[in-house]
């Protein structure tokens, strides 16, 4: 009678079944088998009729096997393939059960109705177990018989070959051939000297694979053998190593983990799983822009500044004082000797040109006409900015040392050149000019505290006698103030607040005063905006995503 053999668990299923009745695996691609024909074709598989004839699938047999032997030892039965051991055909019915059973047979009302039912149920279960044990015992007996026959034939043909060699292998091959036929093209090869115990091990592994109980992850054993997947994945013949995995499954290694290690492992597994999780691509959002708020603030800021700048009116705002730093710079420039050489270092970006021109104008305009001005730039746009400023102030530089790409090297080279008393004729023109310079004063125009500090560090150490003055932006001023206090820098003008006093006192023109007042109006507006923002946040709280 044809039937379907489940490729996963090996259970036999009727032809009409679409899924395995035992494990639920799909039987869609399974080829029906006729056991009679196959056995007739093979002619050597008589011993395996035990499974098909009794409609006994492997997991059930294995479970029965385990249950029968659990009271004795709890493990799998030892199969004495050499035929020297005793069979397990021992009725291990408890004595008390026999007594109850005997009394129940002799006295129908001795134990009452409930007891009789229980006894009947136990007897039924016992009979069923006995039948199953008989099936298993007969299977074992057949295996043993076959082993003896093979041992005898093997001894005749090759005396040195171990007894447990080909006999179980043959049986296994025969049984597996049906699975192979059912599942298609897969053909398994076992090792020539594999013990017959591997068959039981394989069954255990197969059962655990079927029930999903293979502790491969914990014990670190090989992955469960998926016959169908391997058959579909590789059309050619492949070797399936079932022995190792089965042995590991019988005696799985326990991985002792502490709670912390387990949490870390879980965290790692979660992280790895999360990395490969598909996520929708979300566009970057900068929150809801309150453009009308920006527009109103810009209107007030720009409108207020423009009104002060272009109205031509002067308001009663305080005049800027002349700071000590600014006065020191002016004094240093005024004290320059006749025909002195002054070095101007241009080290700022075009965005700060307006502020630095305002800061430098009163100083450069106070220069005596006899002073020779040399120019060097350490920013890329420095040469252009120098030309623009000096042209506006009508100052013609005597020497243009050009552009130095690295201010640290340039500052060191210049300072070393000033400190050196030897001529450097062997150097190229630009470098030799740098080394041969002899300046009576140095003015550094910078918008960056770090770059200005490099100049101060090198020049104040190598040429401490040369007066060094800083003309910097307001943002660079606070970080450079300590160098003024320590005396390394002669004077410093930082930002418009230092320059405005000199500018207004020197020119007394409406232009400087109006710029200063525009600056004050803008500063007051910005302070108002900051206070307004703080108050709004205090009242409503800052909400994420709102970008004012």
């Amino acid at each position: 009678m044809p039937f379907l053999i489940c490729p996963d668990c090996g259970a036999e299923n009727p032809l009409t079944a679409e899924i395995c009745q035992v494990c639920g695996a799909s039987l869609a691609d399974v080829i029906p088998m006729d056991m009679d024909n196959s056995e007739a074709d093979d002619g050597e598989n008589d011993e395996f009729t035990l499974f098909s004839a009794e409609d006994k699938d492997l997991p059930e047999l294995l479970n029965d096997l385990k249950q029968d032997h659990e009271p004795a030892g709890g493990g799998l039965p030892e199969i004495d393939l050499a035929g020297e051991g005793e069979s397990s055909e021992v009725d291990d019915t408890p004595e008390w059960l026999d007594v109850i059973r005997k009394r129940a047979h002799e006295e129908l009302d001795a134990a009452g109705e409930m007891t009789q039912r229980i006894v009947a149920a136990q007897e039924s279960l016992t009979r069923q177990n006995e039948e199953e044990r008989a099936d298993y015992a007969s299977w074992i007996e057949e295996l043993r018989k076959e082993t003896r026959e093979e041992a005898v034939s093997g001894t005749e043909g090759q005396e040195e070959e171990p007894l447990e060699g080909p006999a179980p292998e043959k049986a296994k091959k025969d049984w597996l051939s049906r699975v192979r036929k059912a599942s298609g093209k897969l053909e398994t090869h076992d090792e020539p000297n594999a013990a017959s115990r591997n068959l039981l091990d394989w069954l255990v592994a197969l059962e655990e694979e079927q029930t999903g109980g293979m502790p491969s992850g914990e014990a670190g054993v090989t992955q469960p053998v998926d016959l169908r997947q391997r058959a579909h994945a590789d059309e050619s013949t492949r070797e399936v190593r079932v022995g190792d995995g089965a042995q590991q499954a019988v005696a799985p290694k326990r991985l002792d983990l502490s709670r912390e290690e387990r949490e870390q492992a879980d965290l790692l597994a979660t992280t790895i799983a999360d990395e490969s999780t598909a996520r929708p691509v979300q566009p970057i959002t900068f929150g809801r822009r309150r453009w009308w708020v920006e527009f109103i603030l810009a209107f007030f800021l720009i409108g207020g500044i423009c009104f002060v700048l272009f109205s031509g009116r002067l308001f009663l705002l305080p005049e800027p004082p002349v700071t000590s730093g600014g006065q020191a710079v002016l004094n240093s420039v005024a004290d320059l000797p006749e025909d002195a050489e002054l070095l101007l270092v241009f080290d700022y970006q075009p965005a700060f040109a307006g502020e630095l021109e305002w800061v430098a104008a009163p100083v450069l305009e106070a220069l005596p006409d006899s002073v020779k001005v040399s120019v060097i730039s350490t920013s890329a746009s420095g040469p252009l900015l120098a030309d623009s400023m000096l042209e506006r102030l009508e100052i013609i530089p005597a020497i243009d040392l050009g552009y130095l790409p690295a201010e640290a090297f340039g500052a060191y080279g210049l300072a070393a050149g000033l400190a050196s008393t030897q001529a450097a004729e062997f150097l190229p023109k630009g470098a030799s000019e740098l080394f041969e310079g002899e300046f009576h004063g140095i003015l550094i125009l910078s918008d960056n505290a770090e770059r200005a500090r490099v100049w101060v560090e090198q020049l104040s150490v190598l040429t401490p006698e040369t007066p060094l003055n800083l003309l910097v932006t307001a943002q660079a001023g606070p970080m450079l103030r300590p160098y003024v206090d320590s005396g390394q820098v002669t004077g410093m003008m930082a930002g418009i607040s230092d320059a405005a006093g000199l500018e207004t006192s020197r020119t007394q023109g409406p232009n400087a005063s109006q710029r200063w007042q525009a600056y004050q109006v803008g500063l007051l507006t910005l302070i108002g905006v900051l206070i307004l923002g703080v108050l709004l946040n205090l009242r409503g709280g800052a909400t994420q995503g709102d970008d004012i």
Binding site: G402, Y412, F426, R453, V454, Y519, G522
Partner: protein
Amino acid sequence: MTISDYIWSLVGFLLTIMVLSYLVGDNFFFRLAVHLFIGLTAGYVAVLLVRQILLPQLVIPLVNGSSPQRFWLVLPLALVLLLLVGQIPKFSAAAIIPLAYLAGLAAAIVIGGAVFGTLLPQSRSILDAFDPGRWYALPEQTWLRILDAVVMLFGTVGVLSYFHFGRKIKRESQNDAGKRPLILEGLGKVGQVFIGVTLGAVFAGIFSTALIALIDRLVFIGEMLTRIFGGL
């Protein structure tokens, strides 16, 4: 004003307006101006390096210089060639030598400057603040100078304590594992105040600088508009 100056002033005016248009949000004109600035800056720097560095300090001395000058150019020329060869992936190791030379030299210069130009002079400045001669130089400012010296001392020690990343040698409990000694904790709090004041001053300076840049641009726009419509 010449025609050329007028045209370039007009270009500057339009670019300023395009940048300021960011006030109403990101737009095509703002991006156009930004891309224009980036491209012009890259091209300008390339030309600048060739004209003011490579030609006058390397190529021309090699051609027209004296023998000592040529000899002294062998080393930088070799470093330049190694750097160029290092751009080929197969010979990328060749670039290690010039880069190592640059890094080592820069480190030596910067460290030397930091130690002798900042650390020692600033330490000496703090000590000088406690010079009694300075305190009593101006009798009316004696207490002010003493207060100045004390504040400077507390500020310096506090900031240094704040950046002290140590821990207790003798731990009294498990909670003391990551804590610093109590005195450093207290001084670190004082240092936090000084750091906050310093950063506030820097922040105000940035505001001030940005405001002055805005005023400068507004003045430029006003002058340009006056030129354009003044003749009408």
